[in-house]
Amino acid sequence: MPANDGIDHDDRLRGSGLDGDDAQQIYRYMLLARVISEKSWLLTRQGRVLFTMPCDGQEAADVASAYALDAANDFIVPYARSLGAMLVKGMTTQEVMLNMFGKAADPNSGGRQMPMHWGHKKLGIISMGSSVGTTIPRASGVALASKLKGEAAVTMVYFGEGSASEGDFHEGLAFAGVHRLPVVFFCNNNGWATSVPVSLQSAEPQVSKRAQGYGFPGVTVDGLDPLTVYQAVKTAVDRARSGDGPTLVEATTIRMMPHSSSDDHLRYRSQEELDAEKESDPLPRFRDFLISAGLLDEESDQVLRDAVDQEVEAAIEYADAAPAPDPETAHTGVYAP
């Protein structure tokens, strides 16, 4: 049943600043991210891939936010659940799978980092490690450099509400506010930092309120609705690009899967809660919207799903067969020449 009963779908789309092609593109990226995430999980269960961090439930937020960027010139400083944003920024399914399998040709790290640890210089994706929050002042620094060089690029940094507890969150936002830097802080608030609920991160669970303390706007949006996310991030990106400084955008999302393939979320969440959360899965919700808007039907959806499935399967086979890194190279590249 359509999720947007009683709403004029064309109006909603127009109001977001997107057209039908954009909406279809966003849906395709969301679907691709979901299928990669699901298949990666299965690969870990089969022992073919050693680790993954699922993004299920965050596709709308990640894809629609990245869609608001100028993919060719802007920067993304990602976190481990930014798969959807990586795809929008230009990373291919094959490159993602090379990363999952830790292969030599993985453009993110050549097999040096764990899966879902992104970084791709040619695509303007600034490398992340596993020490969360360190990325936040780094994003301010990337934006500072763009500003000092007189370049129009905007930097967007992704992180979870757990990372917002790190001191680097405060230090990165404070600096960006002082210098009115062209940066968007995008907080994916899925309510959980591994097993710790947001109520134990801060007595004020709404992360966006903290922006006030740094002198720039903070907004909280429904991260399960790509049109809403796009609109909020587009406003923030335009603001950044025109020299008016940073924005903190908080997207409330859900985490449908465990923190990682090494985690069992039933140790701290009930099956009932997880089942209930599944009802708000952003993918069927947006699919229904597109069908109601006449941008998709059952048949074209199935064609798309088959194509995405084949794309991911082909990438898995390609990456699985790709050469592993040469052990000789483990010693090299510690210092730049």
Binding site: G110, S127, G129, R138, L144, H170, F175, G333, Y335, A336
Partner: protein, 327 residues
């Protein structure tokens, strides 16, 4: 050539690199209007403007994090940490991020970054304005650690550090700023990172040191010379990566080694140098390797009687060298 104080040589190095390369900028606490608490950056705000001489919020981790990001987007930041003692909030940014960026991106992203910080005791700075922190960073692959002893080296090594595509920690002894003077060449020059130098030739004993302690070694060598003990003094200049060739050549010649630093002994640079000597010059040694450093006490206490009781100086070196010479 002109004679200058070490602080002037550092300032000159910064000024020349700022003038030569528009991608160089400085960030730190109190470095702009105030010219730094030691006045290293005095006059640079007027010359290069507030976009390139940036007063940071009081946030070491954020400042280094910002600098890493700027370095990954084409700039060459030089960060001043006001006292080396306050570098620890930025430890994670340096060790987890800057140090391994090049390795973890398989050579895609370099981090051309310099962290300058005054270190060392003898200024009655107490527990939090006196520390030597080089050993923490010398342990970390991907970082370079430089500790100059002379104005010539301070300027030449700083210029090399700024031009280096790797993160370089550059520690300046705060007592040396205004007490160590020396000849500095006119015009552009660099001193290569990773090369030690023999400050004084000698045949019987190698004093191996870096930073201000080199001057203590030279003073001790004079005293010892009068006693008939002929010391060589090796100035490491860079403590990571170490110039093993120069230090081993010296020990192979003299057969006796004493490593001197102001940092406390356990896990210090001296321990690493001793291990290198044990492996590379074992058959040349006529005596056990000696180390002179501060005792394992949490930095230097404030009261002069307490600090003086712990600060390693020329007399400690003389004492250790006599033991070595008569072993």
């Amino acid at each position: 050539m002109s004679e200058m104080r070490l602080i002037e040589a550092v300032r000159d190095g910064l000024r020349e690199e700022l003038a030569a390369d528009g991608s160089v900028f400085l960030i730190g606490q109190d470095i702009a209007v105030n010219g730094g608490v030691f006045r290293v950056t005095e006059g640079l705000l007027e010359e290069f403007g507030p976009e390139r001489i940036i007063d940071s919020p009081l946030a070491e981790s954020g400042m280094v994090g910002v600098a890493i990001g700027a370095a990954m987007n084409g700039l060459r930041p030089v960060v001043e940490i006001q006292f080396a003692d306050f570098i620890f909030p930025a430890f994670n940014q340096l060790v987890s991020e800057a140090a391994r960026m090049y390795y973890r991106t398989n050579g895609e992203f370099a981090v051309p970054l310099v962290i300058r910080a005054p270190y060392g005791g003898g200024v009655r700075g107490g527990l939090y304005h006196s520390q030597s922190v080089e050993a923490y960073f010398a342990h970390v692959p991907g970082l370079k650690v430089v500790v100059p002893s002379s104005p010539h080296d301070a300027k030449g090594l700083l210029k090399a550090a700024i031009r280096d595509d790797n993160p370089v920690l550059f520690f300046e002894h705060k007592l040396a700023y205004n007490t160590v003077r020396g000849e500095v060449p006119d015009g552009d020059y660099t001193v290569p990172i990773g090369e030690a130098v023999v400050r004084r030739e000698g045949r019987q004993l190698s004093l191996i040191s870096y930073g201000l302690s080199v001057h203590h070694c030279l003073e001790a060598a004079e005293t010892l010379s009068a006693e008939g003990i002929d010391c060589e003094v090796v100035d490491l200049r860079t403590v990571s990566p170490l110039d093993t060739v120069t230090l081993l050549d010296s020990v192979k010649k003299t057969g006796r080694a004493c490593i001197v630093h102001e940092d406390n002994l356990t896990g210090g640079v001296g321990a690493e140098v001793a291990a290198i000597i044990a492996k590379g010059a074992f058959e040349y040694l006529d005596a056990p390797v000696q180390r002179v450093g501060a005792p394992d006490v949490p930095s230097f206490p404030y009261s002069p009687t307490l600090e003086d009781a712990l600060l390693p100086g020329p007399s400690d070196i003389v004492h250790a060298a006599r033991e070595l010479a008569t072993y």
